[in-house]
């Protein structure tokens, strides 16, 4: 192991960031380097398998857990810009592979060194940003990060260091936005009713920016806000921490 002062970090960008908004991955990379990490994005990474896990397709979930472990192990830490994907690795891989003698130790080993990016920057690195973003913002606590990984205070501590940024209260900030992975396309009407209320709360806050730590939830809320004609702009929190809050928000071309 290299000294903790300069850990070797594998960045697992997640399938959604890879496909839709690579900018979040580069923001994470930039913030991790600013926090003194040596970062690589391992070539073999694809998807953590969460869609299969939550659909009940255990065989596929197990297969993707194995390929993800193989792709990401061998680094001091694995850092993920998503609470739910980090929770899949930390909480579910050891359970999925508990009965497999060849993989059990590897699953636990990876789980123990995997971190959600905001928790990692705050708790492990004790890092504070040196960036500016003059705006008012609300922070939505994504469910998996909040309840499976205990991510609550870390993003707020980090965002407090962004010069000019004012976090305002969001009513029901811990209430699910109605995304739920495949739930939102399997039960669109129910999901829509939930995200309508979330959009009401976001607009009622008066904030200019919506921040969160999971792109899936952000796309759901931002997509609803845009459909309603709202002017609220959405970013992953790490984009602001990396000084990328002045660029295009989710859905904005550029």
């Amino acid at each position: 192991m290299t000294p903790a002062s300069s850990p070797r970090v594998a960045l697992f960008v997640t399938c959604l960031v890879d496909l839709i908004r690579p900018r979040i991955g580069f923001a994470a990379l930039r913030a991790l380097e600013a926090a003194g990490c040596e970062v690589v994005a391992p070539e073999g990474q694809t998807c953590c398998g969460q869609p299969a896990l939550n659909s009940g397709d255990r065989d596929s979930a197990v297969a993707l857990a194995k390929s993800t472990i193989a792709a990401l192990e061998g680094h001091d830490h694995v850092v993920v810009p998503s609470g739910s994907c980090a929770a899949t690795i930390r909480e579910h891989y050891p359970e999925l592979l508990a009965d497999d003698p060849d993989w059990r130790e590897r699953a636990v080993g990876l789980a123990e060194r995997t971190w959600e990016v905001l928790a990692y920057l705050d708790e492990v690195r004790g890092w504070r940003p040196d960036t500016v973003c003059a705006a008012t913002a609300v922070y939505h606590d994504s469910c998996s990060g909040l309840r499976e990984l205990g991510i609550k205070t870390q993003p707020r501590r980090l965002l407090a260091g962004v010069d000019g940024l004012a976090l305002v209260p969001l009513a029901g900030e811990e209430t699910c936005c109605g995304f739920g992975g495949t739930f939102c396309v399997k039960y669109p009407a129910i999901s829509n009713a939930i995200v309508e209320e979330k959009a009401d709360a976001i607009e009622a806050s008066g904030a200019e920016l919506l921040l969160a730590g999971d792109l899936g939830c952000l796309m759901n809320m931002a997509g609803k806000l845009h459909r309603r004609g709202s002017k609220v702009r959405a970013f992953h929190a790490v984009e602001l921490l990396a000084g990328m809050g002045d660029g295009s928000a989710i859905g904005e071309e550029g």
């Binding site: 399938c15 960031v17 890879d18 496909l19 839709i20 908004r21 690579p22 991955g25 580069f26 990379l29 930039r30 994005a41 070539e43 694809t46 398998g49 869609p51 299969a52 896990l53 939550n54 659909s55 009940g56 397709d57 255990r58 596929s60 297969a63 993707l64 390929s67 469910c143 998996s144 309840r147 499976e148 811990e174 699910c176 109605g178 739920g180 992975g181 495949t182 739930f183 939102c184 396309v185 399997k186 039960y187 669109p188 009407a189 129910i190 999901s191 829509n192 009713a193 939930i194 995200v195 796309m219 759901n220 931002a222 997509g223 609803k224 845009h226 459909r227 989710i250 859905g251 071309e253």
Partner: protein, 463 residues
């Protein structure tokens, strides 16, 4: 009607939304205050879960102990393996007693086994004595919540029902006047009933006592005056001792309504004794399995911890939108989504474990820490194994997984998807997208960047 149709009907009903939000929202706020004020609720919750786990693991022993002590107190204990057996036992007791009317104190187990229907078939008049059960009996509807069976009704709807059915209804629209109208209507019927039927919130093994909790006193008034008291209870209601029952009561009331205790908490131990002023001459306790031992053996043992407080549904984003009837079973919300497939089969109820965002709030507020999301995932796995999931879902997940297992092929597929999405929608937001109708019916979809992260990274981009 399918779950999706029932949910659509519920979503289209603004009165339902108002009614559900009012009650569940109040419960949520009051529970939060009660839990905050409780010294170390987390430890109390862990203890409650441990008590239930211990009983479930030693169910046979505690059932025998309960039976022996209940019999010693003068009660008769009956065993029912199925819902039909349980109903038949109750109807037989009613017939043997020559009963024409029964006063019933709200019991979800009674709903689960179909007792209202069985009594009607047997020609026995049923008087629901819980105020909310009275309301839905007048409306001829099933309960929509396990604590507030009429939570889907607004005050205006209740007023209209009372005016139609009560002989001397309320003169003004105040809650007090409406409650008085129900009291006038119910009291004489309760006092004239031949038999009182209740469920049990707890069965206390070391005394053989049955505990009920109510806020209206209707259990006491419908169980003490009649000649016969019949209890129908699920076997998972056991606790070892009075001390344990009291601990569970502290968790139950706070989790359900935020109150420290219900208005009435009564322990019934056997029938009237020689020197008692009142009480029934006979007490019968029907212990019902109805799939519970099978649940214990088939990976759902943790569900048997449930004390029916309703906190999971009060805090569920899906329940808050669609209410209880959309779930189609006796038990709605997260606990219902776990129980209903066990009670009535997965094939007919495969939507219930799926219609959940797995946000984990239900587990967080559960007073006995049932891992509801894990149990729901378990049903999803079984549904997948048994081929109950739609072909589109099966293929969608399989194709995705198949690609994701092969990084090179996956890179090619993501590049093609990005190209396709950008050709279709250009940059910025799309209002529609092929194969994503479920998404774009209600929200816009952001266009992807020109190339994936991994493609940009491979080309040397680092910032």
């Amino acid at each position: 009607m399918s779950f999706i149709d029932r949910a659509a009907a519920a979503l289209a009903d603004p009165v339902l939304k108002t009614a559900v939000e009012r009650t569940a929202g109040t419960a949520e706020a009051n529970r939060a205050v009660a839990v905050e004020a409780f010294p170390d609720f987390a430890a109390a919750r862990a203890r409650a879960a441990a008590i239930k786990d211990h009983v479930i693991a030693n169910l046979g022993e505690y059932l025998e102990r309960f039976e022996a002590n209940a019999v010693a107190a003068g009660a008769r204990v009956h065993w029912a393996g199925t819902a039909d057996e349980a109903c038949a036992i109750v109807v037989d007791i009613c017939r043997a007693a020559g009963a024409k009317t029964v006063a019933r104190s709200k019991s979800m187990l009674g709903e689960e086994i179909g007792l209202p229907h069985a009594l009607a078939e047997a020609g026995i008049e049923r008087i629901e004595t819980d105020l909310a059960e009275h309301i839905i009996q007048l409306a001829d509807e099933p309960p929509s919540h396990i604590v507030w069976p009429a939570m889907h009704k607004t005050r205006d709807q209740v007023s209209a029902l009372f005016r139609r059915h009560h002989a001397s209804p309320h003169e003004d629209e105040s809650i007090a006047a409406m409650a008085e109208s129900a009291r006038r209507h119910l009291r004489e019927r309760m006092l004239g009933a031949d038999i009182g039927i209740s469920g049990a919130n707890f069965l206390v093994a070391d005394t053989g006592a049955v505990c009920t909790v109510t806020n209206e006193g209707n259990a006491e008034l419908s169980l003490v005056p009649p000649r016969v008291h019949i209890v129908t209870a699920g076997i998972e209601k056991l606790v070892p001792s009075m001390g344990h029952a009291v601990h569970m009561l502290r968790m139950l009331a706070r989790s359900a309504t935020g109150a420290a205790l219900t208005q009435y908490t009564t322990f019934y131990s056997g029938p009237k004794r020689a020197d008692d002023a009142d009480g029934p001459e006979e007490m019968h306790i029907v212990l019902v399995d109805n799939g519970r031992t099978a649940m214990r053996e088939e990976g759902l043992a943790e569900m048997l911890r449930c004390i029916r407080c309703g906190a999971c549904m009060n805090h569920c984003v899906v329940f808050r939108q669609i209410g209880g009837h959309a779930y189609g079973g006796t038990y709605p919300g997260p606990m219902g989504a776990v129980l209903t497939p066990a009670l009535s089969g997965l094939a007919a109820n495969r939507d219930l474990p799926q219609a959940c965002t797995l946000n984990g709030k239900c587990q967080e507020v559960c007073p006995v820490a049932i891992p509801l999301p894990t149990l729901l995932r378990g049903w999803r796995e079984r549904s997948w194994r048994e081929g109950l999931e739609p072909v589109t879902t099966r293929w969608g997940v399989r194709v995705w997984a198949c690609l994701a297992k092969r990084p090179r092929l996956y890179r090619f597929a993501t590049s093609a998807a990005i190209l396709g999405m950008r050709l279709w929608g250009g940059g910025g937001w799309s209002r529609s997208l092929p194969l994503a109708g479920g998404w774009t019916r209600h929200r816009d979809m952001p266009a992807p960047e020109a190339a994936s992260f991994m493609a940009q990274y491979a080309r040397g981009r680092r910032r």
